[in-house]
Structure formats: C-alpha cells, structure tokens
C-alpha cells in the first residue's frame, strides 16, 4: 500500500495546498515522489516521533493538513500521549500514517511489529481509524477521508501488489465490505491478512463449508450496524487479525455480539502471546501465531464441530 499511499497523497496535494508530509526519517523508496514534486511541503523532522506529532498539531491549528509518517509502532506507540493531547484533544485534522501492519516487518523483529496500534488508538473515540485490506482500498480510503475535519490514523501494509478478490477498491467509513458469501460461517477480518482469509474460505469450500468473508476497514465510526446485521444470520463466526487479542477486531466483534444479544459463537484468532524474540517472514509469522489459511480452516471446522479439535 506504500505506492498507493504516496500516489494518492500526491494527487490530493496537487488539489489542496494545505497538505504537508512529515516523516520521522523513514520512507526510503516511498516518499521520493512527494518530496520531489512538493519539496517545500515535505519535512523530514528527524528520528523524533513525539516532536513530529507536536509539530503536526501546531501546523494543523494554523489550518494546514499534515500527514505524519513512520513505521507503525514508532508513529503510534512512542508518541501516543502526544496524539491524545494534540490532534485528538484539540480535534485537529492531523493524519498519522503507520506503515507496516501486523508482521509486515517480519524479519525486522518484534520492535517493528504493529500488533497493538489499532487497539491502542481505539481508546481515543475522537480519532478515525482506517485499516485498508489492499492497495485499491487504501487509495479509496485515503481519498475519501482526506477532507475529514478530525484526526485520522491510517494503518497501511507494505505490500503493493496483493489484492483482495472482489473488494474492488470499495471503502466507506463505518461500513464493512463483503467479498465472499456463504451460509455456514462468517469470517470477519481486517488489514493485509484479509487475502489469507479469502484463501482459507476457498479451501473450506472445497470441503463443503461455505464462508462469508467480511472486511472491517476502519473504526470510529465503528461498523456496529453492519456487523450486527451480518452476524444475526450466522451461528458461527471467526475474527482474524494480525493484532494482539485485546482491544482490536476480536474485541469489537465480541462486544457487538454481546450487546446485540446475537446467537453467534465467536472464535477470535489473534496474537495471544508476547513476542518470543524470534523473527520471520510475514507468512511464517501468520503460521506461527495461527493466522494462516490452514489455521483458519482448522479453527472453522473445529468451531462447527466437524473435527475433534
């Protein structure tokens, strides 16, 4: 989604001279098109994420539209309190861009994993959160949310080529996107692991289990009516996310099921353990933490009582 981000931002900046791009010294082979086209609107603020959010707050108060970019844990977790007291408390249109969803930076190790950014930021109701599942949706989401008067967080994946079948660049705040329909189980997911979930659904179909796959592409507004309506038609659901199991997608879906009194049994697939110090590719990490297609398939069959697991 890196290329989709910078391409879309360049398009937006050509139309809106309030747009500025700040980076915490990251973005090699990403930022260059913006830097070269809008050199006076590009600032590398250095390796200083707290200051970057403070700078963005000061700029937004003056009527500018700063996008503050770094690798997700550095963009969110380091300056979390600056986000809370700056753009959110002041309700200013700062955009925070966190690069690398879940285990995107797999070989870089646990310091670079983004397993808590969504849950952490969901604690700030004033902040819109956008979690695209592929580049097409990322481009649409960045464009659609460009004129929001309130702050926005974009969680973006590194991959530029992956595409979720049937998503087709659809995005709407507070809505889910259905990319596959089936009557046996609902698979609810978000972010770049979505393509893996669709692959799991295809495999399930081969063994006679038809799954609906729903993409949650943002919070605040939370897609409560959509999830409620969807799950009211299912006895079983699984949520899949490359985030820790507290506060993210699984927690959201659980809350909807409980508060709407839905008769739907949910299994939350997420990261249940602190990192053990190992690293690996994103697909290896998904396997290790039970988010890959085989794990999704196995858990589906177990939840539906079709195996002994």
């Amino acid at each position: 989604m890196r290329q989709a981000f910078i391409r879309t931002l360049c398009d937006l900046a050509a139309e809106d001279d309030r747009i500025f791009l700040l980076t915490g010294d990251l973005g090699y082979m990403v930022m260059e098109p913006f830097r070269d086209r809008f050199p006076r609107r590009f600032f590398n603020v250095g390796v200083a994420e707290q200051n970057m959010i403070g700078i963005a707050t000061g700029m937004a108060e003056a009527g500018l539209r700063p996008y503050a970019y770094s690798i997700a844990p550095f963009a969110v977790l380091r300056p979390f309190e600056f986000i809370r007291n700056g753009p959110v408390l002041h309700n200013l249109p700062v955009r925070i861009v966190g690069m690398g969803m879940g285990f995107d930076y797999g070989h870089a190790g646990p310091t670079h994993y983004a397993l808590e950014d969504i849950a952490t930021l969901r604690t700030l109701p004033g902040l819109a959160i956008v979690v695209p599942a592929d580049s097409h949706q990322a481009a649409a989401a960045i464009r659609q949310t460009a004129n929001l008067e309130r702050p926005v967080y974009y969680s973006l994946g590194k991959d530029d080529h992956q595409s979720v079948p049937n998503l087709g660049g659809r995005f709407a705040q507070g809505k889910i996107q259905i990319v596959r329909t089936g009557g046996d189980i609902a698979l609810v997911t978000m972010g770049s692991v979505s393509a893996e979930v669709v692959a799991a659904a295809d495999r399930l179909s081969a063994v006679g289990v038809e799954a609906t796959v729903a993409i949650v592409s943002g919070f605040s507004p939370d897609p409560v009516p959509d999830i409620s309506e969807l799950l009211s038609g299912f006895r079983f659901a699984i949520s899949i996310e490359a985030q820790t199991n507290t506060g993210g997608l699984g927690a959201f879906v659980s809350t909807v099921i409980a508060s709407e009194s839905l008769q739907c049994r949910l299994k939350v697939l997420a990261v249940y353990h602190s990192p053990d110090g190992t690293s690996g590719s994103q697909s290896e990490r998904w396997r290790k933490y039970g988010l890959d297609r085989e794990s999704i398939m196995r858990n589906t069959l177990a939840l539906m009582g079709k195996t002994s697991e």
Partner: protein, 277 residues
C-alpha cells in the same frame, strides 16, 4: 477593562485559589510578571480568534490560573467566569483548555507545548505570516526528552519567529532541580543547540521587555530562549521561603507551595503582601 498588571494577576490567582481551595499557587505567582509583560505589550493579538494573531503556549500548564487572570484582564474572558475555577463541569481547570477564548493550545502534560510551538512557528513561516510564537516552559520540564527534540528542530529550521521563555525557578514537583536533574548550565545547553539565549531577572519587567524585543545578529535566524530567573511563590514572603504557616507539622521547603491551598490566615497575609508589591 482593568489595567493588566502583575499585581492584578497575583490578586486574581490568590482569590480564585482560595475560593477553590487548591494549590499550584507558587507556580502561578512566579510567572505573573512574565505574563503581565507578554499580555501587557508584547503579544500582537487584535482578537483571540484572529488567525494571524501571535500565539502563546503555556507549556507549563499548571500555571493556568495566572493565564486565566491575564485573559480576564484583557477582557477576552469574563472575570466572573473564574469563579468556576476547579468547579464541576468547568472549562477552567488547573491546566489551560483551548476551547477558552485566548487559549491557543491545551496543555498539562509537560514536554508537549514546545513541540506544538515549533509546529506553529513552522506553519507561520510556510503561510508567509508575520505572526510570532511564544512558549513558556519550565526548568524541570527540560527533563522531558521531547523538549530537546523540538529545540533541535527549531534551530535546524531557523525558526526565528519562535521565542521560548523558561521559568527558571529551581523547583520541581517533588524536589529541587539541583537535587533531581541538575540544569545549572541552561544557557550553555541552548547555545550549543544553536539558539540565541538571554539570561534575565524574570521579575524585572524592563529586563523581560528588553529580552522579548531582542533578536539575533542580522541573518542569524535563530530561535530565542529567554532564561527568566524567577522565585517560586514570588510576592508572598512565606511562600518564597517555603514556610507552611498553618500546617506547621510540614518541613520548611519551597515544594509546599506547589501543592498547599491557603488557610484563611495565609490568604490574608498573601493578599496584603501582594498589595504592597
């Protein structure tokens, strides 16, 4: 509109602190002169919602009552509204809230105001505006690493429209700065970071005014920090000396008047002493 003087700021601080029965009095009193000079004749603000007004950021937000007093004396907020200070459902808390007219940024968490000020200064330059940014920080606040992130950024980008006033009172929330994190050489530190520095008596209006009008050598384009040497609790002798007149079981130390509310007797003495300042 009433005359905007440091004495009037101190009187309002004492009156509303007493009414609300809260502390942070020492922190408010020691910046009364700085605020009186800033709001008296330095800040160029035709109206608090003018986009091209100078910005003031009280990064040491716990002195908000002194700021509220200055804003009331400017006529931007009703002085009568200050009776809700620290009341229920009030916008007037111990720390400033940007929803109030004349408050540009909400603060309260130390180390954040200067970062926002640097962004505000950058924005002014980008917009071709002549507005200036003033930010009041404290010496203890320099314990926060983010202060130095912003300090480096402002020097690198030559933000000469940014002026920082550092309230150098030697006191922090649970001790003296020299015992906690010593910062005796603040001027050398900021000079090393590429800033213009001034070192002044933070209670001398003439010295503060001169420093606030100062700029660096032609073409230097340096941000400016004014190290304002202040006395915690300035204007009330027992506060300056850290004496808890009523709660005599407490040790004598300046930290007391970071927290204590005033008894009736203490209030009477404080009012009478600030009258004669």
């Amino acid at each position: 509109m009433q005359e905007l003087t440091a004495r009037r700021i101190r009187q309002i601080v004492l009156r509303e602190s007493k009414r609300a029965n809260v502390g942070h009095i020492g922190s408010c009193l020691c910046v009364a002169d700085i605020l009186a000079v800033l709001y008296g004749h330095v800040l160029r603000i035709d109206a608090p919602d003018d986009p091209d007004r100078d910005r003031f950021i009280l990064s040491k937000g716990h002195s908000a009552l002194a700021l509220f007093a200055a804003l009331a004396l400017k006529g931007w907020i009703a002085e009568s509204a200050l009776t809700t200070f620290c009341g229920d459902d009030s916008l007037f808390s111990v720390h400033p809230e940007a929803r109030l007219p004349g408050v540009d940024f909400s603060t309260g968490s130390l180390g954040q105001g200067l970062c926002m000020a640097a962004g505000a200064a950058l924005a002014a330059r980008l917009q071709g505006s002549g507005r200036r940014i003033f930010c009041l920080i404290s010496d203890a606040e320099c314990n926060e690493g983010s202060v130095w992130e912003a300090t480096m950024f402002a020097a690198h980008h030559r933000l000469d429209n940014l002026t920082v006033i550092l309230d150098w009172n030697g006191q922090q929330a649970f001790g003296r700065t020299r015992d906690v994190i010593d910062c005796a050489n603040l001027a050398e530190r900021w000079q090393a970071f590429g800033w213009l520095t001034s070192d002044v008596d933070g209670h001398s209006h003439a010295a503060l005014s001169d420093a606030l009008m100062r700029s660096g050598p032609p073409g230097s384009r340096q941000p400016h920090i004014i190290l304002a040497r202040t006395v915690f609790g300035k204007g009330v002798s027992y506060m300056e000396q850290g004496i808890p007149l009523t709660q005599t079981h407490l040790r004598v130390e300046p930290i007391n008047w970071h927290y204590l509310p005033m008894s009736d007797a203490e209030y009477q003495i404080a009012v009478s002493e600030t009258e004669s300042l």
